[in-house]
Assembly symmetry: D2
Homo-oligomer: 260 residues x 4
Amino acid sequence: MNTWSHAFTAPFTAAGRAALVPPPPWHYAGWLLNVAFEHEAAGAAALVPPAAGRALGRGCVHFADWQACTDGHELLDPVLAQYRETIVVLELERPDGSRCNYCPAIWVDQDISLLRGLLQGWPKKAGSTWLTRSLPLAHPAAAPLAAGTRLGATLAVRERRLLEARATLTGAPGRPLGFLALPTLGAVGWPDLRQPGVMPEPRLLRPDIRDRIGSGWHAAEASLQLLAHPHEELDALGAVRAVEASAGWIGISVAGALDA
Amino acid sequence: MNTWSHAFTAPFTAAGRAALVPPPPWHYAGWLLNVAFEHEAAGAAALVPPAAGRALGRGCVHFADWQACTDGHELLDPVLAQYRETIVVLELERPDGSRCNYCPAIWVDQDISLLRGLLQGWPKKAGSTWLTRSLPLAHPAAAPLAAGTRLGATLAVRERRLLEARATLTGAPGRPLGFLALPTLGAVGWPDLRQPGVMPEPRLLRPDIRDRIGSGWHAAEASLQLLAHPHEELDALGAVRAVEASAGWIGISVAGALDA
Amino acid sequence: MNTWSHAFTAPFTAAGRAALVPPPPWHYAGWLLNVAFEHEAAGAAALVPPAAGRALGRGCVHFADWQACTDGHELLDPVLAQYRETIVVLELERPDGSRCNYCPAIWVDQDISLLRGLLQGWPKKAGSTWLTRSLPLAHPAAAPLAAGTRLGATLAVRERRLLEARATLTGAPGRPLGFLALPTLGAVGWPDLRQPGVMPEPRLLRPDIRDRIGSGWHAAEASLQLLAHPHEELDALGAVRAVEASAGWIGISVAGALDA
Amino acid sequence: MNTWSHAFTAPFTAAGRAALVPPPPWHYAGWLLNVAFEHEAAGAAALVPPAAGRALGRGCVHFADWQACTDGHELLDPVLAQYRETIVVLELERPDGSRCNYCPAIWVDQDISLLRGLLQGWPKKAGSTWLTRSLPLAHPAAAPLAAGTRLGATLAVRERRLLEARATLTGAPGRPLGFLALPTLGAVGWPDLRQPGVMPEPRLLRPDIRDRIGSGWHAAEASLQLLAHPHEELDALGAVRAVEASAGWIGISVAGALDA
């Protein structure tokens, strides 16, 4: 089949205008609550490919409320632009001794982002994220950026709560955590249905993130609960304990991916 | 049936803890795009009770992304707090010569807000609102508060687009519009199923809004499209034309309602 | 305010065409899984108005996949017609010694049904019901009406599982259970926001159900789990134990309501 | 990266239990409304790869309400099993003179089915399908299988109606149409983000469908409307005209895919 189609993803029409995902660059801006946690390092072996590295017993959950676009037309029809997701990353020591994150699980509420994630090594499935927003108002419902403001964040997968976090802003500056602090690897692979008994051999990639811009992070004290779930595998991490948290806005652009 | 239940709304349990709507005060903070429009004044007679007043041919559509709470517990489980809605108000001259708004139609995506609205005279039905958010970042996906930033807002009802707006921030201060500028009346009534052939006689009420706080409005130039819909009646307004727009954050509290 | 509007519910327009709920008769046809259960009778006092009667320690959960209409136009635009809900009823001895059910809780996924329920004394809130369907095929995914076929049914409220049931068809005829076996009372009331500190005094009503038609019930052995939930009150029932189950199709029509 | 993971799709964990899509065989049972239509044959060139064949000016829209499983566990937690979708297929003459269908567009409401489709060459995106169900009851809301029963089916994509169909059962037997009558090809391909400027070269595949079982098709007279949509490309087909329709239940199993 020749290069008849100008589509980046299915459907592969001649013009490619209906493609679910257009080519990068992809621009993302969002409000995030980041909760760094400790976990049982040994358990991560069930979730992390040995080639990626060795888990160090630290990770981060990011609850994110995104607005994303390519050339900007999505912002004029925001059903195309907005989605929420929950990202789990684990900190690894790579075989070469450097450090990175690996993403073993992520859940999103929109199809465009789901496929865009699979292409980058973010293994997205459907999930429902809720996250208190901070509005620039001194009002009981606004959760302004001030010491003592409380935030909640939750993830439900297949209609069961999987993660719940609560955070209280301290009023001090916070730090970038998780994928905001270290490069993050992911595994990309696709089975071939002509050989349905053969599992794919995923390739480790790292998104090529450029043009990061932040509003400054706001420190928080947080708690995190990981709940039992029949269809997920995060319980391999054992008990998790929140150790640090931050909230704020960030903008990034992804230009493609690199071998990792 | 005595006052056994402490519930404000159904279900009427003894403790009232499961009630869909708790009693006021209700606190709301949100991001709004307000698009004032002109319409055919005569057509409004199909939508506005004569007792409320006479339509002047002006109205406003508010696209709103809310966070709401009572004692604040909703902000820690934000599935209880967040919803989006589209509000239509029409400007009236009351029988006493004063001016007000009347709300003939409003659509929301959450059950708590739906019933809370019906109690106040906001005739809420289910609908899906999308609204570009402004994040405090200079980034292509952030729609920052700056001259030239473009916003989109849309409403779908029963899976058909009903309203679409686009706005470009001018960089100048904006004005409060619609329900933010004038008191807004609504009609409250409930049929009695023991007399299923009798239509209710609604009562005109006005929400008792207190403690309004704003971030300042940002002026915008906007366009507005009202699309045909088989189950709605806004086409009674004839052609609509956007005449002024503003965007910003606002916080209000509702303590109850007053006769109007 | 005179009887200017021909709307049965809000919005109260002149024509009433946009009203969320049209007047009865309301016709319902659906596929139901009914799971009768035993509970701690004393606990029901938290959920049942004393005027309704005394709980006997038996109840029923109905998982329902409905199609509803008035004059039939909804079947041609089925987003108006279809919804799923989970109904809990408790069996009571009335003060006069007769028996009935009372509905303390019900969750639905559509706005039309939500308000229609509140008018009848079904205290509906939003919830997400999933229910295996039986298709007339001998196929692994069809769950045909045959001995050994297994069905699942679940309810999530605010993104947390609240009820889970599993059933295995026995191949024998089943019985009508719950609201299909005894009249069911509900409480109808509306707070007046002009007196926001006054709780409403609900009235006991009974839907006026006519023209019931069934396909015959199919007996099942079932299990039922009632899970903890921070915003619900069914835990007042203590441990629940499934004692009988049936599945099948039923059609009913509601003409209004009667004092109960 | 070695074959450490037993996952068929992401996330690529060691056990593979959390994978979005488990390996085939995949079993599907559903209720379908099939509407065959005529279209402008020349326009299909924008949607069909030349290597697939030449469009003949005929196609079919399938509105489907599915229940799907692998080993059956999905039927006990039906949030995993049930989804709705709308499938468009076009009839082609292949280069060898044989006939087949090609699927240029399909929309679904569940993530598992979305990825499972992309693997088979069904180019799924998110969309909302509603379809009147036929229940085995003589009741106004049941749409029983009888002459004169009317059915509605609709598809909305990004909150805009794209397809609407109405059908009236004739009482006569119907025919299998569309993908139920001829093998259907699809294009499978994945871009490589390491070369973000290179469009993928999709491969033509044909699902390996086995164990088809049907309930018999019921003929219907139908109308079909294809509405304008800013993000889709079906308008390339020009005006469409319904020429034949059928409804019924079918069960199929997919074992993998074959080169086409």
